[in-house]
Amino acid sequence: MGYFLFFLLAVMTVGAVLGMIISKNQAYNAIFLILAFACMGGLFALLEAPFIAVVQIIIYAGAIMVLFIFVVMMINVHSGISAEKKKWIIYLSPVLAVILIIELILSIKGAFSLPVSTEIIKAGPTDLGRLLFTKYLYHFEITSILIIAALVGAIVLVKKKEKK
């Protein structure tokens, strides 16, 4: 059952991301991404992280993607996307891609020889909340300052200047 759910969610996630790559419409891209993030939430639940799964669905698939869709609505560009390429990019990009692939293959090889722990931890919202307010208190407070700064920054950036 777990394997079936894993493969279903994995195929749906990868398919949604592929759909995002193939599709040219930004609104469809956003919808595909919501699907991918929702499936990712399912994967998190499968990994015994129920709190993060719910946070993923509420914040990512809810809040962040609604923000994206708002901006897509506001911008609303109809022009097609040209595919012009520069010469040096054509030569440089395969080299970088090969390096990246080698690194990824090495890391996957390492993944096959992981130590497997059999004990299952309880990490419900209660435990996470306790940890958040004891061990990670400073990180939590700094994150709240970051959120305030981002909020004020976004409003100041987008606000139209009044003409005198």
């Binding site: 394997y3 930004q26 956003a30 993060i52 923000l67 993944a111 497997v116 996470l128 976004a154």
Partner: protein, 100 residues
């Protein structure tokens, strides 16, 4: 219990797909979405390792990553909106102000 390898390989696949999307897409919003995909792939790896190491610390890190991603999305989209207001385009190859 599903082995951690499966999740890690899925995480790598998603990261690579996000990187590919970032490089082949031409509009800023979709490129920004691919960054979010890469962030999510990293989150998946974090949660997988949190389960392997049987400690909830990885989940806390993912919680912080999601919060920072929300802040980043707000500021990034504001910047994209500003670029659109000034240049009337969001194609990445039109951003050549710094080109010599």
């Amino acid at each position: 219990m599903i082995p951690a390898n499966y999740f890690l390989i899925l995480s790598v696949v998603l990261f690579v797909l996000g990187a590919i999307a970032f490089f082949i897409k031409r509009d800023l919003i979709t490129m920004f979405m691919s960054v979010e995909i890469m962030l999510n792939a990293a989150n998946l790896a974090f949660i997988t390792f949190a389960r392997s190491a049987s400690s909830p610390d990885g989940q806390i890190i993912v919680f912080f990553i999601i919060t920072v991603a929300a802040a980043e999305a707000a500021v990034g989209l504001a910047i994209i909106l500003l670029i659109f207001r000034q240049k009337k385009t969001i194609k990445s190859e039109d951003m050549k102000l710094m080109k010599g």
